[in-house]
Symmetry: C2
Subunit: 188 residues, 2 copies
DNA sequence: CGAGGCCTTGACCGCGGTCAATGCCCGTGG
DNA sequence: CCACGGGCATTGACCGCGGTCAAGGCCTCG
């Protein structure tokens, strides 16, 4: 489990073996059931996750009570409710397991500790931020230029695993459309 | 002009006086006319800007030929076509002066140089990325939860200077609606 | 002064949201 | 093991927000 994590970390920054050991020791294993909430709206995001198996999603609830899924992490991916993790202010997002999930978590404290101790970790974090920024940049592009159908078809092409693994309810909220609309699109 | 820049930099990271001098010396003054293009789609974003007077915007052009404004910088603000600046890959965004503009620009080369030379500059850049991320996060929230009218009213409340300084054409594309819709909203 | 861009206003319409009814699957307890 | 209940998916009918197209007026700048 920690070996896979090391591999992932290495793709994002240049760590030596001693640093990697120091880092992965700070990631604690955790096992959560499907539908359990790891972070509740209003609380502060204090953990950063690596997903071994299963999956998490972050979402928030709009004024009119609808869930809006922002980010999905499946096997071998990393992330958290980043805005609150960055600012250490109360989150508007929930973090929820979309499946029975085995993961590794590092605390915010340890995360920022590493930021001061390990030079490459700053690069790692910079890289995370750059990717998160670019990801959202793309999402905005899609929201303002594509129709519901085009967004669905693009995901189908680029990330079909999402369509297999997510419930229609979650998938629809991720694609920013209603369940009914997604259902109609799926049946062509 | 460089004094104002120093003030802005200091709000984003903890520089000492010598560092500040070293940094601002790398910012070169530039004067651009309204409607001139500082970065063309397809080119690589190689400068990071501080706006002294006037303003810039970044926008891209969608498949069906419409301009979509992502980010606006007015007096005393900083920014650039960030995605391309980060990746040093061709930009899908333009950078355009929305007014006659006096600005200071630092090259990507010098920017990343500072990232290695000055410890606090890494914090500065981290801060920029965190803010850019949070800004976009908010924008996505607004796009998926608010109506055109609500987006306009929110901007009116939180950033009325945008509504005064931007043309309807640019303002509409910033708010992700057509000029006609914005016009109807303004007349209540 | 003329031309071209920008803004406004009107008429129309289609995408996708809303509401409602029904079916289906699955976990839970008797 | 079956009966029941609740959540999820599907389908239909309806409708409203905001996009599209078009025409006309106004302002700016060469």
């Amino acid at each position: 489990m920690t070996n896979k994590l090391k591999t992932v970390l290495q793709t994002l920054a240049d760590f030596d073996e001693r640093e990697l050991d120091q880092i992965v020791n700070l990631f604690k294993p955790k096992s959560v059931k499907k539908n359990s909430i790891l972070l509740h709206e209003g609380n502060i995001s204090r953990e950063f996750y690596y997903i071994h198996t299963g999956g998490l999603r972050t979402f928030f609830i709009s004024k009119n009570g609808q869930e809006k899924t922002r980010y999905v992490m499946l096997d071998n991916h990393i992330g958290t409710a980043l805005k609150s993790f960055i600012s250490q202010k109360p989150s508007i997002e929930f973090v929820e397991a979309i499946d029975d999930t085995e993961l590794l978590a590092i605390s915010h404290q340890d995360f920022y500790h590493l930021n001061e101790e390990i030079h490459s970790w700053k690069n790692f974090y910079q890289n995370i931020l750059e990717r998160a920024y670019s990801f959202q940049n793309r999402k905005i592009e899609e929201l303002v230029t594509l129709t519901a159908k085009q967004r669905y078809e693009q995901l189908l092409q680029e990330n079909p695993v999402f369509i297999q693994k997510l419930s229609n309810k979650v998938l629809a909220s991720y694609l920013d459309m209603r369940e009914e609309t997604l259902s109609r699109l799926k049946s062509q």
